[in-house]
């Protein structure tokens, strides 16, 4: 390892092998009462890619996300995250896996009794034994990385705007430099300027930190600008592909989704941006 030359991918490369799958879900079944949400669903995410997850309301996007991060116990199926099967893990292994992903919930889900900086220190305190001064510095780095203004560190969540709360939630999700970042509707409720800044932020972070990103979103603009591939929840299963592949498919829902007025506008906007 130490003899490798400088040009070979190391550093983040050691964390991101570049091949294989970061997340691999096979044969997932989720049922609530008689209502079947997922029926033998397969879903996979490659290392280093940004995967969009879309689907109609109530199609089970959040349930899928919750199943992967362990908030929901599926009825059947195998979930492999970073090469480890979720079901077979003991408490210590689960905890160390939790240190390797970060989750940004819809409205940030910040702890309201703690300042932004204290919020970011929570996972650090839980997962590491670092000196307090270093934890504070790391929290400051994360605050800067997530694009929060310098005066936000000692504010409470209630003193922040919606966009700032999302950035603070992102900073907390990044606290431990996770391998995988889960985003639940990251741009919902943001104004168009804030939303496109957030898109750029996520692209930039993926490149800087070597993240694998799974994002649930309805924002067609961010799908077009950010995502490498998109998974669509259709009829309790996943259909996956790039946006071009998906919009070329012969499916009424997909045609409506990507070919509708909003989809066309988003795709046209992207083309204009690329021409410039």
């Amino acid at each position: 390892m130490a003899q490798e030359n400088a040009a070979s991918p190391r550093g983040n490369g050691a964390r991101r092998p570049g091949k294989g799958l970061a997340i691999e879900v096979t044969g997932l079944v989720n049922r609530f009462g008689t209502q079947v949400v997922h029926d033998n669903l397969d879903f996979s995410v490659r290392y280093g890619e940004i995967m969009g997850l879309v689907g109609g309301s109530g199609s089970g996007k959040s349930v899928l996300l919750n199943s992967i991060i362990g908030l929901n116990r599926p009825k059947a199926g195998r979930i492999m995250v970073l090469g480890q099967e979720m079901r077979g893990l003991d408490r210590r292994e689960t905890r160390s896996l939790q240190g390797r992903w970060g989750v940004l919930f819809q409205d940030g889900a910040l702890f309201s009794s703690l300042t932004v900086m204290q919020n970011i220190e929570v996972p650090l305190k839980r997962q590491t034994r670092l000196p307090t001064s270093l934890m504070e510095e790391i929290a400051e780095v994360k605050i800067a990385l997530s694009g929060l203004p310098p005066d936000a560190a000692h504010k409470y969540p209630s003193q922040l705007s919606g966009g700032m709360r999302k950035r603070a939630g992102l900073a907390r999700a990044l606290a431990l430099d996770p391998d995988i970042l889960f985003l639940d509707e990251p741009t919902a409720g943001l104004d168009p300027i804030g939303a496109s800044q957030f898109d750029q932020l996520i692209l930039g972070l993926r490149n800087a930190l070597g993240l694998t990103v799974v994002m649930v979103t309805h924002d067609l603009d961010s799908l077009y600008t950010v995502c490498d591939r998109v998974s669509v929840l259709l009829d309790k299963r996943i259909t996956v592909g790039t946006i071009e592949e998906l919009s070329a498919m012969d499916n009424a829902w997909l045609k409506d989704y990507f070919g509708g007025p909003r989809g066309r506008a988003a795709s046209a906007a992207l083309e204009r941006a690329e021409d410039r």
Binding site: N12, G13, R15, A144, A153
Partner: protein, 380 residues
Amino acid sequence: MLRQRAQDAASLEVREDAKAFRLRFLGSWLTPSLAGVDQALRGVQPNGHRNVVFDLAAIDALDSAGAWLAVRCQRRLEHAGCKVAYEGVSESDQVLIQAVADGKECEPEPPEPSTFRSFVTNIGEGTFARFGEAGALISFLGETIMSVIHLARRPAELRPIAIVYHMQKTGLEAMPIVGLLSFLIGVVLAYQGSDQLARFGAQIFTVNLVGIAVLREMGVLITAIIVAGRSGSAFTAQIGTMKVNQEVDAMRTIGLSPMFVLAMPRVIALTLVMPLLTFYANILGLMGGGVMAWTLLDVSPRQFIEQLSGALQLSTFWVGMIKAPIFGFIIALVGCYEGLQVSSNAESVGLRTTRAVVESIFIVIVLDALFSILFSIVGI
């Protein structure tokens, strides 16, 4: 293939040659394994060298916290007048270090005022806040009374279903706990009383003691305290959560007054239900005393009732009962007031709920004392 936690911890190797002071970064520079090198990097001194080289060629892994340590050391050395160069940095690490170095520093935490000063300001602020709260509560009382008068003129605006619903919630469903506790209070009073009165050979007066204590004070007080803890807090939590959800704002925009929709039904219901609960508590308290008198003093139920009717006047009963609707009104008032004071976060719901209970019990006991003075002046 994957990042292993057990990988070599981050470490540092110092080499000096004629040209430069070289720092070799070794092992995995990931967040959990940085505790050791944090101190080491803080203490690095270049021994008079002007040129410092950070050699990252032999590093296993780097994350943003590790990159920050390097950037921090770089800044410190550059501040001391050295030139820092990186060597053997992979492309991805370069991007990472650049991203970390680009970040602005956070503003320092605003300094805490001195202990004495904050002590004095806390007293001042606390005093003003208390007076402010008291004023606001009194104006809410005024508003409530005006609304009651308004409703008395236009009974069509009463919301009978809501009132009955709250009567069921606060009255009917409180009966088991109110009954049990009143019964036990009767038992305790009889037990303690007979113990003391036995010294004078006057055990039979235990019945008088239980009767007067329960009817005048204990029945209504126990009921008020249970209702404050059970229903007053529930009012605050319900209205407070609606406030957090912006339901209260929505009501206002539709033209519904939270006072009439939320507060009035609760206030009316509790004012009506408290006398009923108190009556029930009185009966069970007397029963508790009676059972105790029977087992302890061999006073048969028949004797108990005879002794009781000799000891009590009708006024004894009314002295207790007249307080009940007033206490009910106060508890509901404070509960609704605190609920409407909730600001838009979950923490304040809890805070206000606690305050509602403490304040309403406090006011109830103060009022009870005032009533005692009043009754002794009047001579009842």
